[in-house]
Amino acid sequence: MEKKGARREAILEILHDRGGLREGVSKEVHQETGVPEADIYGVGTFYHLLSDPDAGVRVCQGLSCKLADSDGLKARFDAEGKKSCFTACLGRCDMAPAFWDPDDEPPLVECALSPSSDAHAIDLAAADGTGYEALARATERGPDWVIDELEASGLTGRGGAGFPAHIKWRAVRNQAETERYVVLNADEGEPGTFKDREVILRRPHLVVEGLAIAAFALEAREIYVYVRGEFGRVKRELAAAIERARELGVLDDSVAWHLVDGHGAYICGEETALLEALEGRRGMPRMKPPFPVEKGFRGKPTLIQNVESIACVPAILNRGGTWFQEAGRTQPGSKLYCMSGHVVRPGVYEAPMGVTMAELLEMAGGVVGTLKAFSPGGASSGFLPADQIDVAMDFAALPKVGSMLGSAGVVVLNDTVDMVEAALNQAVFFEDESCGQCAPCRIGTQILRQMLERYLASGRDASTLEIVDDVSWGMCEASICGLGQAAALPLTSAMKHFPREFGVGTG
């Protein structure tokens, strides 16, 4: 139990500044903050960038990078005598095989984008203006108008869950508690996803403006931005944009802005785990209810929104909710789709919501080789076979075929890919990134990975996969958060669509 006045929220940043969790550091941080020493150790060991500060260069083992021979890259580092380790998706799938050196962040190469268009709400290829017209309009017409426009726009969360934005905004606004927070989720970590990175790099003022509008509409006095630790440049660009907006006089001092680093934990993209991280704890998702709109950061009403969602807000207010609503084909809005894996031009493509995979492939220059399967929305969405390329890529149609849009991180697989290996890659990801809090996910992810390894080691003996149904049922039914609930999907979907590779049937 910590003493009253202990500075828990500070401990992750202090651990970061000390260069990570080396022996004796938790004692020092305990003396500095008043948080129990064991707690600091427990928190520090949760975050891989802190727990293993000497691991060297991180080589991405995300699926897109694996397809681009990240094993070879790792071997090259080994041969050069450069210390390195594998890590989960780095959000650089367009540069596969990607790596990240904590001491020397590698530059981002120009990512392929869809050409600028009036039909796009975000329009990554357009110049990032500093007019802040939407913010002016919002302050002139008031919070209710803002939220009504949001409702008319039909904007749903772009972070993965697709929850209607206006419901959250209104819920926070209607709380009796007046200490409220706006939190931007820039922890982008879903394998195959790198759109939020590009939004902040190319249109930082859209993000700043969206956040300022949210703080205004919700009467929040503090904004927290949680940026994944491997996105150093992204954080700097955003900080510069905030600074610029201050110089321009569009931001005043009524709202405090905080940019907070992530420290290497995919699960902190889950909104309540993110809040735990902001509060200086192990990033273990909270049980819901209560939801963050009621009890969020510091137990106060909190709006948490994804980068892309927030960046849609200025266009909605400038061009009207109805415009946004109509910009989609099957569901509202235009949408950023990240294309990587076996495509000719990996990149971020903005298209009407509900565009088909066939169209997206065309935008990205086509498949390298022959299409076999694709993962429509990050690892959590599982795999679909090539014959599903005409399904609308939206939040409604994909679930009907046993998948989901998620973060729209599309990974394309050609016919050289072994689906068992692909499923194993995702299984390793979920096992590595499970927070370990709840039994179904912590143990289930280990069982799935170890089972697939036994399957391969046994020369594909299907009896090693006997309990897949039971285990995946329980993971989906009993896990606390979306990670565990989705973690079996890559395997079960691969087994469903490619049974022969798993030793069953003739498919």
Binding site: S26, A38, D39, Y41, A265, P440, I447, D470, G474
Partner: protein, 357 residues
């Protein structure tokens, strides 16, 4: 008008803020749990207590889900039952399936529940990735990672009841384990060796070193309820006795909510019992021989000797040359008698109790 929650068709009234588990317990509806303790904030981690709630797509943990008016809850459906079997198979695969091995000392709640609720089958054991602290030199408590289900009862107890925070969940995912700061020995931390972490552990992962060494499982020992005599609080303890050898193997605390100490003990009550069978223990009074040696005596003889000595000192040097100090092991009644002895028997106010600093 009071509000009701409807569990398995029974209308059960509840206090605002109460969980489904608390409401169900009152109505004697059994919901199995592995990570719940009435003294602690629920963690919702083991997922053993999931129940169906009308209107909720997912099953919810009864241990933490708040009861609400007219909420319809089902604890006996096939889905709920399938989950219980799933969770038990998971934990068994992740610990030790063989009950005799698992229960070498402490009873295993997983195996107990598996007997009642069944399992989804014996799954291939998981290759475990949790580390322990093999170099922890403390003499009393060991942590055996192969039995740990990460229910966090131990860490929550240490934090929320003892307010010590010596142990923590450490690492992440499959590597999550229980540790101290920098994996130090418990004796090099804030740990008070209260043993509460051992007591709350449902699996014997946190265990009494000496009892494991002794080698007889707890279920083969006989529990004898008695009062700890190390201090005046009156904590109830259970001596766990190997009746064949007539030895106390260890001390456990009665379940929370049943006795004054609510399941808690301190280091002395729980671990300081090796004096009982120690060869140097005095079992009769001794008095000093004229030559300086000691010999066995009766209580009457020994007490006479004490009285005579005290009276002689008082006569020679005055009443206030005597002072009486009672032990912190004494109860209030005993302390009263002690001051009575000082004042009425020896006429001095020089009376003190060693715990009254």
């Amino acid at each position: 008008m009071s509000d009701f929650v409807i569990i398995d068709g029974n209308e059960i009234s509840f206090e605002p803020g109460e969980t489904l588990l608390q409401a169900a317990k009152r109505a004697e509806i059994e919901i199995p749990t592995l990570c719940w303790d009435p003294r602690l904030e629920p963690a919702g981690a083991c997922r053993m207590c999931l129940v169906e709630i009308e209107g909720s797509r997912l099953m919810q943990p009864a241990c933490s889900y708040k009861a609400a008016a007219n909420q319809v809850v089902r604890t006996q459906t096939s889905r709920v039952q399938r989950n219980r079997e799933f969770i038990l198979s998971l934990h068994l695969a992740d610990t030790i399936q063989d009950r005799d091995v698992m229960e070498d000392n402490n009873p295993s709640r997983i195996h107990e529940l598996a007997e009642v609720y069944g399992t989804a089958g014996d799954w291939t054991p998981v290759a475990k990735q949790r580390v322990g602290r093999p170099n922890d030199v403390n003499k009393f408590i060991s942590f055996r990672p192969d039995r740990c289900i990460l229910c966090s009862l131990c860490t929550r107890y240490c934090d929320q009841v003892e307010a010590v925070s010596a142990i923590t969940l450490a690492g992440r995912g499959a590597h999550t384990t229980i540790s101290t700061a920098d994996e130090r020995s418990l004796t090099d931390t804030t740990c008070e060796l209260c043993g509460g972490c051992v007591d709350v552990c449902p699996t014997g992962a946190m265990t009494e070193k000496a009892a494991v060494e002794y080698g007889k499982p707890e279920r083969e020992l006989e529990k004898v309820r008695t009062t700890c005599n190390f201090c005046g609080v009156g904590c109830q303890i259970d001596l766990n006795i190997d009746t064949e050898a007539n030895r106390i193997v260890k001390v456990t605390s009665p379940p929370p909510g049943t006795t004054v100490n609510d399941g808690n003990l301190c280091v002395k009550g729980r671990f300081a019992n090796d004096f009982v069978h120690h060869e140097d223990r005095l079992t009769t009074p001794l008095v000093r021989e004229p030559g300086g040696g000691l010999r066995e005596a009766t209580w009457d003889e020994a007490l006479d000797r004490v009285v005579k000595g005290l009276q002689a000192a008082s006569a020679r040097h005055g009443k206030d040359s005597l002072a009486f100090i009672s032990s912190s092991r004494c109860t209030g009644e005993e302390n009263y008698l002690m001051q009575k002895l000082a004042r009425a028997g020896f006429g001095t106010h020089n009376i003190h109790q060693c715990a009254a600093t």
